[in-house]
Symmetry: C2
Subunit: 348 residues, 2 copies
């Protein structure tokens, strides 16, 4: 049975997903029996289009590349102009990809999109940290109540397996803590500072490369890493953390002198997001610059790469290192979650 997909939001990640689906259509059919169509795309700025038999995705990408609206779609019969909520409730999509912008304060409009999808008995796949960081447990309950899935691999370390690594290959292990480099921008800046470049120059470079936003506060002050710490703690350790539960400090205070001193002690400054359960069973969550010994796997993680060490009861430490961001990398996270939904559907 064809998986019918609607994209809410058509920025980098949505376009990355479309590029992958176009180039891998045959491979996905042959290898996994996965047949799909993208039936709707709705974007606040770029317009909205719905075709119940599936859109010509190449035309959609062409329109965006040429600064045209999706309402200019001509490849076949379609309806245009539906807003996100109508697209979620009134199209024949069975998987909703929530790919709008991240708001870590209100979680909107993404959280409403998720709730509406679940109430309409549609699966949600998202890389949006807002709903996941603010309302994970609530949204998961609503999804389960409606017999659908809420999959969020892309919210942490793009498509590098983190949440799907725990749910499957680590099934049977208990995770009692983790420690990771969860923000690529700050790691890129710290790596450059170690090579002698100033904080300001590295920040400018990060902005030029698209790693950091024009207002880099979210990265530099550790808010982005904090959202990921909350998501990890709630998803893989069964916690119910809010932002007030995480001690947070960014990298703005790290000076060249501190970096030189660290080197002389065979250590390296890294912005580390971590959760550990202490002897009393209390769970402590932090985002802090930490001195990491060069012998630790996290010390060797340079540039915009991310890494995460899980502390497990049966396997000891398990570390995964990979891309933390990127159009295709995050697009893949969405694809992998859609394939996981397909796998369950297939076995039913």
């Amino acid at each position: 049975m064809k998986t019918k997909i609607a994209l809410i939001g058509f920025g980098t990640v949505g376009q990355g997903l479309c590029e992958i689906l176009i180039s891998k259509q045959d491979e996905l059919k042959t290898k996994y029996g996965f047949d799909h169509s993208i039936v709707a795309i709705s974007d606040l700025v770029k317009g909205s289009v719905y075709a119940e038999d599936g859109l010509d995705v190449k035309e959609c990408l062409y329109l965006i590349d040429n600064d045209q609206s999706l309402t200019e779609y001509t490849a076949g019969p379609c309806v245009t102009g539906w807003d996100s909520l109508k697209t979620i409730t009134h199209t024949n999509a069975d998987v909703i990809c929530e790919l709008t912008f991240t708001d870590l304060v209100s979680g909107e409009p993404a959280s409403t999109h998720c709730r509406t999808a679940f109430s309409s008995k549609k699966h949600v796949v998202t890389s949006n940290k807002g709903p996941a960081a603010l309302f994970y447990n609530q949204l998961l309950s609503l999804a389960e109540l409606n017999g659908v899935q809420f999959r969020i691999e892309g919210t942490v370390m793009s498509g590098t397996p983190v949440l799907n690594l725990v749910d499957g290959p680590l099934t049977g292990c208990r995770i009692f803590g983790f420690k990771g480099i969860l923000n690529g921008t700050t790691n890129y800046i710290l790596t450059g500072m170690e090579a002698g470049t100033s904080f300001e120059t590295m920040l400018k470079k990060a902005q030029e490369l698209g790693y950091a936003e024009v207002d880099p506060t979210g990265d530099i002050e550790g808010f982005d890493a904090m959202a990921k710490v909350i998501i990890l703690a709630n998803v893989i350790m069964g916690q119910n953390f809010k932002s007030g539960d995480v001690q947070r400090q960014g990298i703005a205070q790290i000076t060249p002198t501190m970096i030189e001193e660290a080197k002389s002690k065979n250590t390296r400054w890294k912005l580390i997001g971590s959760v550990e359960i202490n002897k009393n069973g209390d769970c402590n969550a932090r985002v802090l610059p930490e001195l990491v010994p060069l012998s630790h796997p996290l010390a060797g993680v340079s540039g915009a790469t991310n890494a995460l060490t899980f502390k497990t009861d049966l396997l000891g430490d398990v570390t995964i290192v990979g891309a933390g961001a990127g159009k295709i990398e995050t697009g893949f996270s969405i694809l992998n979650d859609i394939l996981a939904i397909h796998r369950v559907k297939k076995s039913l």
Copy 2:
């Protein structure tokens, strides 16, 4: 429905699995709805016992700890003395854990155990490299023909997710190469040599710690890593490699001078197992000492730890670092594979 397990071979891994199952019985029931009994254990040296309603595993472990045979079992009605093949075919087990010794030349008796289990429509879970390195594709076909699973996570990097990482969290990516530290003994020796200790002293230490065998040839000369390279190439890259297809060299030629020279160039000697597809589509497999730049994630992997970098089309490099061996770590690989079988059964 209860999963009924038979253990063929009752050495370190089998005992590790039993210890985990005893301590996690309630947790596995609550978290995953996994209910099980070990109905049979058959070991060439330690004896054999079968109880269709499940064995008292604590008594089995007690007997072994006290150098008694499993035939001395008294906890309930049972049959003793069945050999491995009769245990596979005549007990009510639905999952056979093949945990006998590794023979990389004949693959026996493990391969016959696997074939017999598949013909009896029973799943096989194993950490034995013999059948996997010599006959993977053949055995997989036989398993599929009989509608059962052949799961081998523990053959590479013990329970650290490798094969189950690719089959699931990396679904949708194509893997076109890998590069890894796949043998703990040689990595332990090289790490010690970097700190100034001689090869001979480190080898003796590795033997004392149980990392290396009394005859360490399999580790030192790269045969163990080669078996793992073959398994990885065949399972995750769809190859059909035999041992003759892998270029192999061990670490015996690495001298203290070479290690010092490497240091001065910001590199480090590692025994690397790798496969890459070149421009002509040819697949080159190697186990060789290689100079790894300190900036590469594999450089920071020290001691008996293992690590593997996958080269993927959508995510770039993804590296996983974790335990390469150990009683509980490998026992977990068997548990995780059994839980994967349970998950599929549950969804049917």
